[in-house]
C-alpha cells in the first residue's frame, strides 16, 4: 500500500469516532485551570504570568497527558482488536507499515494538542492581560518538550493497546503513569528521572522560590538539562524500536 493511502486509510477508519474531541476537551480543561489560577491575579502575578504558566502547565500535563494518550491510542487501536481485523490488514499492508502508520495517526492528535497548548498560553496572556513579554523561545521549547515526552509515552500506550486483547491494561498503565508522574515531581531529581511519565515536568524552564514569611512566589531560570534531553531522546528511539520489534513477532 502506498504511503498516502496508508494515511488516508487510518483517517477513514476513525471517521465517526470524533477522536479530535479528546484533545479538544483536555485543552478546554487546561484553559479553565489557567482561568481559575488567574481569577484573582494582582499586578505582581500578571507581571510573571507567562513564567507562572510555563511552570504550572507541565505539572498539569503530568496528570492529563498519560491518560489522554492512553485514551487516544486505545480508541485507535481497539477498533482493530475488537474487530479482529489484523489478519485481514496484513494481506494488504506490511506489519511494520501498519504499526508505524497507526502510531503516526495517534501522534497527529498529540501534535494537535501540543500546538493547541502552545496557542492557549499566549491566548491566556491576552485574556488576563499579562504585562510580561511573551517568552517565545521558551514557549517553543515547551511545545517541543511536550511533543517529545508525549511521543515516548505514546510509544508505550500504542504498544500496549495493540498487544492487549483487553484495553484495561493500557488504561491502567496510563492511570498509574499519571499518578507516578505527579508524585515524581515531589521526589529528589535523581529518583524522579526513573519515572517515564514524570518527564513532562523534567525540563521546566523555571524553578520556584516561596518565601514563607512574605508568602511571595518568585521564579528563577534553570539551565536546560542537555544531557538528560539527549539521553531521553535516545531512550525514546530505542523504546520505539524495541516495542515495534516485539509487536512484529506477535502471532495474529
Amino acid at each position: 500500500m502506498k504511503r498516502q493511502h496508508c494515511a488516508a486509510v487510518e483517517f477513514r477508519k476513525e471517521r465517526h469516532l470524533k477522536i479530535y474531541l479528546v484533545p479538544l476537551a483536555f485543552l478546554i480543561l487546561l484553559f479553565f485551570w489557567c482561568a481559575f489560577s488567574f481569577r484573582n491575579a494582582d499586578a505582581y502575578d500578571l507581571a510573571q504570568g507567562y513564567t507562572y504558566l510555563l511552570f504550572q502547565i507541565p505539572m498539569l500535563n503530568c496528570i492529563l497527558m498519560p491518560v489522554m494518550l492512553a485514551v487516544i491510542a486505545s480508541r485507535l487501536c481497539d477498533m482493530e482488536i475488537k474487530g479482529g481485523t489484523l489478519k485481514l490488514l496484513y494481506t494488504v499492508q506490511s506489519k511494520h507499515g501498519f504499526y508505524d502508520w497507526k502510531y503516526l495517526h495517534s501522534f497527529f492528535y498529540l501534535l494537535l494538542f501540543s500546538i493547541g497548548e502552545g496557542l492557549a498560553i499566549p491566548f491566556c496572556g491576552k485574556i488576563f492581560g499579562f504585562t510580561e513579554a511573551l517568552p517565545a523561545a521558551l514557549l517553543l521549547r515547551h511545545v517541543g518538550i511536550l511533543l517529545l515526552v508525549g511521543a515516548v509515552v505514546l510509544t508505550v500506550q500504542h504498544f500496549l493497546s495493540l498487544m492487549s486483547a483487553n484495553q484495561i491494561i493500557p488504561l491502567l498503565v496510563g492511570l498509574m503513569g499519571s499518578f507516578l508522574g505527579l508524585f515524581s515531581m515531589y521526589f529528589p531529581p535523581a529518583a524522579a528521572r526513573l519515572v517515564l511519565w514524570g518527564y513532562f515536568g523534567a525540563f521546566l524552564p523555571f524553578g520556584m522560590d516561596w518565601d514563607k514569611d512574605t508568602r511571595i512566589l518568585s521564579f528563577y531560570q534553570v539551565p536546560f538539562p542537555t544531557t538528560i534531553f539527549v539521553l531521553f531522546l535516545v531512550f525514546g528511539i530505542l523504546l520505539y524500536l524495541f516495542c515495534r520489534a516485539v509487536f512484529l513477532k506477535k502471532e495474529v
Binding site: L29, V67, I168, L171, M176, F179
Partner: protein
C-alpha cells in the same frame, strides 16, 4: 433475579485484570504519600491526620473517579463485545436487575479498594512510627468517600453503557475530577458529582470540611444516584440494541 445477575457479574470478574487495578493503584499513594510525609515531618505535624492528607491528596482528587470509571468500563465492555447486547437484552430478567447487578459489583470492588487503602494507611502509619491507631474520624472520611462512589458508579455505568469505547469514560472521569477540584474550590462542590469524592474523603485538610453538613453531602449523593440510575433505566428500556 437480582441475586442471579450479581452472581453472573461476579463470575465475569473471576481472574479478571480488574483486581490488579484494585490492589495496585492504592499502593502508589501509599508509598509516595508516606515518603512525602516522612520528608516533610517539620511541616506536617498532625500525625495520622497529616499522613491522611498525603495519602488522599492526589488519590481522591484525581484518581479515585477514573479508577471507578475503569471498573465500570470493564463491566460494560463485555456487553459491547461481539453480540452480547442481544444476549443481555433477551435474558429473562428485568433490565433494572442487570443494571443494579453491575452497580452492586462496582460498589463491592470500590469497597474492597477503599478497605485496602485504609489497611495500607494503617500499615504505613505504623511503619512511620505513628502512635496508636488512626482516629475514628479518618475511618468515617474513608467511608464517606466510599458512599460518594455510589453516585459516581451510577454515572460511570451510564457513560460506559452509552459510549461503546472502553477508554472514553475514563478520560471523562479524569476531566470530571479536575473540573470537580475547580468547582469545589469555588464552594459549589455539592452541585457537581465529581467533587463528591474529595469532599467525602476530606483530602488535604485536618478539619472536617463537611462538619455539620454531612447530611447535605449524603442528600447530594442520593440525588445524583437516583438521577443517573433513572436515566440509565430509561435508556435501557426505551432504546433499541445496537449490537
Amino acid at each position: 433475579m437480582l441475586h442471579l445477575c450479581i452472581k453472573a457479574e461476579n463470575t465475569k470478574l473471576r481472574r479478571s485484570v480488574i483486581w490488579i487495578a484494585c490492589f495496585l493503584i492504592p499502593i502508589i499513594p501509599a508509598i509516595m504519600g508516606t515518603f512525602n510525609y516522612l520528608q516533610n515531618l517539620g511541616i506536617l505535624t498532625g500525625e495520622w491526620y497529616s499522613l491522611w492528607t498525603q495519602f488522599t491528596l492526589f488519590y481522591a482528587i484525581f484518581f479515585y473517579s477514573p479508577l471507578i470509571a475503569l471498573y465500570c468500563s470493564y463491566l460494560w465492555r463485555l456487553e459491547h463485545l461481539d453480540h452480547n447486547w442481544n444476549v443481555l437484552m433477551t435474558m429473562p430478567v428485568r433490565v433494572s436487575n442487570v443494571l443494579f447487578g453491575k452497580l452492586f459489583i462496582v460498589c463491592k470492588v470500590t469497597l474492597i479498594t477503599q478497605a485496602w487503602m485504609v489497611l495500607l494507611f494503617v500499615l504505613c502509619g505504623k511503619l512511620s512510627g505513628l502512635p496508636g491507631l488512626p482516629p475514628a474520624m479518618i475511618y468515617f472520611w474513608a467511608l464517606r468517600g466510599t458512599v460518594a462512589a455510589v453516585a459516581i458508579g451510577a454515572l460511570q455505568l451510564l457513560l460506559s453503557m452509552c459510549l461503546r469505547s472502553f477508554a472514553l469514560p475514563i478520560g471523562i472521569a479524569l476531566g470530571g475530577s479536575i473540573g470537580g477540584l475547580l468547582i469545589n474550590n469555588m464552594g459549589c462542590g455539592l452541585f457537581f458529582p465529581y467533587s463528591l469524592m474529595l469532599m467525602g474523603m476530606n483530602s488535604n485538610s485536618y478539619d472536617d470540611k463537611l462538619a455539620g453538613d454531612t447530611w447535605k453531602f449524603l442528600l447530594a449523593v442520593l440525588v445524583y444516584f437516583l438521577l443517573f440510575i433513572a436515566i440509565s433505566l430509561r435508556i435501557l428500556k426505551k432504546k433499541d440494541v445496537r449490537a
